[in-house]
């Protein structure tokens, strides 16, 4: 198990070093006149050149990269070129917002999807058919449209939830819950339908296994069969899908962050990439990579728990 863990951590460290480096190359390769963008349309060439020099853009790319990497290793992610906010501070406010959306959506998706998938696979018949129809509807329903409708129904016509904004947990659990209810609902529909389908398929496969028939023949209770044996066996597929959903939601949350004006990582990544705000982009990419590595590690450990054979692979 320790070797398994060590391998995963090592590959994670490689990713953490590699992805931001790749982001640096891509950003600088496609970068335009950042100093001009900062100073605006009417700044003179002298002003633009002075600002470019102040940002270190007149130095060789390798030197710029080594400078950033060296400071990042010491925990200094620099300062946003466009907002002058320290990147670490920007992450401290934006990571909790995005993680709130993603974690709560994933938990809701997990609970509802497992319940639906399990019920559909076990009871089959009309329940299964209803789930199939709902899944198609869930996939077909555009998330941004649902988000807009939720705002109109539950924030404007019936002002129960805030139309925009994010309240941190420190503002009170109630305010926090209200601020994420609509965006999480908009995100959860797609996540639930995708995950429920996977759980249903995995549970159906397990239920057809010989050992399940044997357990049934030995008179094991339904609850014990499902929750102790079937679910554990099908859990590998469900957990893997949930992990992918979590990682996908880190990027997929962008549209709800924009529509609900939530200061999250997705929103800041889109804006900073469009602007060419290199320190902020690298900061978001670094933190996102870190989160992805940790989530993958947790999933691997979970899969290892459900399926001991996976630890050897």
């Amino acid at each position: 198990m320790l070797t398994f863990l060590a391998k995963r951590i090592l590959s994670g460290l490689v990713l953490i070093a590699l992805i931001p480096s790749l982001a640096f190359v891509l950003m600088r390769a496609g970068s335009s006149d950042v100093a001009r963008q900062i100073l605006g349309q009417t700044a003179s060439e002298e002003q633009v050149a002075a600002r470019a020099a102040a940002l270190g853009l007149d130095r060789p790319l390798v030197s710029q990269y080594l400078d950033w990497a060296g400071r990042a290793l010491r925990g200094d992610l620099g300062v946003s070129w466009f907002t002058n906010e320290p990147v670490a501070q920007a992450m401290a406010t934006r990571v909790p917002a995005t993680l709130s959306l993603v974690i709560v959506t994933t938990i809701i998706a997990a609970v509802i999807a497992v319940a639906l998938g399990l019920a559909a696979a076990y009871y089959k018949g009309w329940l299964d058919r209803v789930l199939q129809v709902l899944s198609i509807a869930g996939f077909a329903l555009p998330g941004f449209w649902l988000a807009l409708m939720l705002v109109v129904w539950l924030a404007i016509d019936n002002p129960i939830f805030p139309a925009t904004g994010y309240a941190s947990i420190s503002d009170g659990i109630g305010a926090w819950a209200r601020s994420i209810t609509l965006p999480v609902t908009a995100l959860a529909v797609g996540a639930v339908t995708a995950t429920a389908q996977q759980v249903r398929g995995a549970v159906r496969d397990v239920l057809q296994q010989d050992w399940v028939r044997t357990l049934r023949a030995r008179g094991i209770s339904r609850g014990s069969l499902i929750f102790k044996h079937v679910l554990r066996s099908a859990g590998v597929a469900g957990l893997t899908v949930l992990g992918l959903q979590f990682i996908g939601l880190l990027g997929g949350a962008v549209f709800v962050e924009r529509l609900f004006a939530i200061p999250g990582m997705g929103q800041v990544l889109v804006t900073s990439t469009a602007q060419g705000d290199l320190p902020l982009v690298l900061g978001v990419v670094l933190v996102t990579t870190l989160i992805v590595v940790i989530v993958n590690l947790v999933i691997d450990l979970g899969v290892g728990f459900f399926n001991p054979k996976a630890r050897l692979s």
Binding site: L39, T42, F82, N84, V151, A155, T164, A274
Partner: protein
């Protein structure tokens, strides 16, 4: 069905109330209702350092925190603020300011002549977007505890405006040069940032200063700026009562806000124009453009009305051919319709110039609608000009244009705040929007004369410059872009500011 919906909503609301989630009212410590102004914006300040704060949408942010030396009123008239009086030397190179003696900064520092000197030096030595507002500052000297004299290498024609704008914003001298000034303002203004309630780039909360010297400019207990990347989110926030006002640019948003009963304010004088810029007036890239007849032909070939109403949904009839805004001395109603859609005349001019046709490559930006691009292409094709739209990444669009990559471009350009700024930004050989450095003796003589002229003479010079640009077609404005400021008048009253796309912070007051 309706009963079930209502019951569900009531239950949900009840549950949230029980868990302490209700919105609650805004009440102050004394129990009195707090007056909170919440402004929606699609731009967040890049910096709170007075030397680095931008123009246009950034003004209200800056005004909440920083007083200026001179106050510019909604109608454009100037009034004392931190400076009680200002006067110029005979050669207009030196300005003397008599300052108020009862002002402090939010960090407790005293405002005095030394503070102004420190701010002038900090501003003029910086690389901020408006640093040229104090261009050529030779010296700034405290000639008394509350008297300052500043001397410039050349007179600055719009120095009074500048001192009511970025160059006049005063920060505490103790804060100048510190890194924290970029994110936390330290001014003498009516409001001070509440760091605990501010999320940079998202929500900026400023509370009223208790000891502010001019309570008349401090109408609210709290001012909140909420930033929206997406304009539909801004509109939703307005409709749900989260914000009181905000700038709208999308015609659909304007229509929705109007339908929902919100007031849409439109400035009397437009802010920016939409049209064609001909950078290559010497014909270095497209030789045909060196001929004034060809440039004029382009002006007659464009169907401005159709472009505005059909392709962009602008129908307020603001067709114009001038690059100076309607509220300025240079602008003239007689010149507004100099060119109109006349293909025959355009063809005749092309024939007179001996030009059959040519290819004109224009940068295409995501800012442009396909309808507009097709319209321009079809209009110019009628006189034999083959327009090739070249896709340019959004990031590179401005820098490519200003780097001299293109002979011409369609663009939306600002015509504010002053005629002198329009001249400086667009018409001198070193202007950012004259990337090929085109110059003309007649035009340059008009520009060079302005600093030494009095107001009457300057107005005449600006009108002559306007006429020159129209005659020579360096810039071809087609129509003014619409500006729409949505307001919930049940919550606040607001007056627009001349030559600004958003109102000054002083122009808001609570609804009666």
């Amino acid at each position: 069905m309706a009963r079930w919906k209502t019951a569900g909503i009531v239950l949900l609301a009840g549950a949230l109330t029980v868990t302490g989630c209700s919105g609650g009212g805004d009440t102050g410590p004394s129990g009195d209702a707090e007056s909170v102004l919440s402004i929606g914006s699609t731009t967040a300040p890049q910096s709170w350092d007075p030397a680095d704060i931008g123009d246009a949408n950034y003004k209200p942010y800056a005004q909440a925190s920083y007083d200026t030396l001179i106050l510019r009123q909604p109608d454009g008239e100037y009034a004392p603020m931190l400076a009680k009086t200002w006067s110029f030397s005979d050669d207009n190179r030196t300005v003397t300011l008599e300052l108020r003696d009862d002002v402090t900064f939010s960090d407790g520092e005293e405002f005095n002549a030394e503070a102004v000197v420190a701010n002038f030096e900090h501003f003029s030595s910086g690389t901020g977007p408006l640093s040229t507002q104090l261009a050529g500052l030779e010296s700034a000297e405290a000639t008394g505890e509350f008297t300052v004299t500043a001397t410039f290498a050349e007179p600055i024609p719009d120095l009074v405006y500048n001192l009511s704008d970025a160059a006049g914003r005063m920060a505490s001298p103790a804060s100048l040069g510190s890194d924290s000034l970029a994110t936390v303002p330290v001014g003498s203004g009516p409001y001070v940032m509440s760091e605990a309630d501010t999320v940079q780039g998202s929500v900026y909360t400023l509370t009223a200063r208790e000891d502010y010297w001019n309570p008349e400019l401090q109408e609210f207990d709290e001012v909140e700026f909420r930033v929206f990347e997406d304009e539909s989110a801004l509109l939703n926030a307005l409709r749900s009562g989260q914000i009181d006002a905000g700038n709208l640019t999308n015609p659909d948003s304007v229509q929705n806000a109007t339908a929902a009963g919100y007031t849409i304010l439109k400035p009397e004088a437009h802010i920016s124009w939409f049209g064609l810029i001909l950078f290559d007036r010497d014909g270095t890239m497209v030789p045909e453009l060196a001929d004034p007849l060809v440039r004029e032909a382009l002006a007659w070939a464009i169907d401005r009305e159709t472009l505005a109403s059909v392709t962009l949904g602008i129908d307020d009839g603001s067709i114009d051919t001038q690059m100076f805004n309607e509220g300025s001395p240079a602008w003239s109603s007689e010149l507004a319709g100099t060119y109109h859609y006349d293909v025959d005349k355009a063809k005749a001019l092309m024939a007179e110039a001996g030009v059959d046709g040519f290819t004109l490559t224009l940068p295409a930006s995501g800012l442009f609608t396909q309808g507009m691009m097709t319209g321009v292409q079809n209009n110019l094709a009628e006189i034999g000009v083959d327009v090739v739209w070249e896709d340019v990444p959004a990031q590179a669009f401005i820098s490519d244009m200003l780097g001299g990559t293109y002979a011409a471009s369609v663009m939306v350009l600002g015509a504010v705040p002053t005629d002198w700024s329009v001249v400086q930004n667009y018409l001198t050989p070193t202007s950012a929007w004259n990337p090929l450095g085109t110059t003309n003796d007649e035009l340059q003589a008009l520009i060079d004369a302005i600093p030494g002229q009095n107001d009457t003479e300057r107005e005449a010079s600006y009108r002559d410059i306007n006429q020159f640009v129209i005659d020579n077609n360096w810039f071809q404005p087609w129509f003014w872009a619409e500006e729409n400021f949505a307001v919930n008048e049940d919550a606040v009253q607001v007056e627009l500011q001349l030559q600004q796309n958003v109102p000054s912070i002083y122009n808001y007051s609570p609804a009666v």
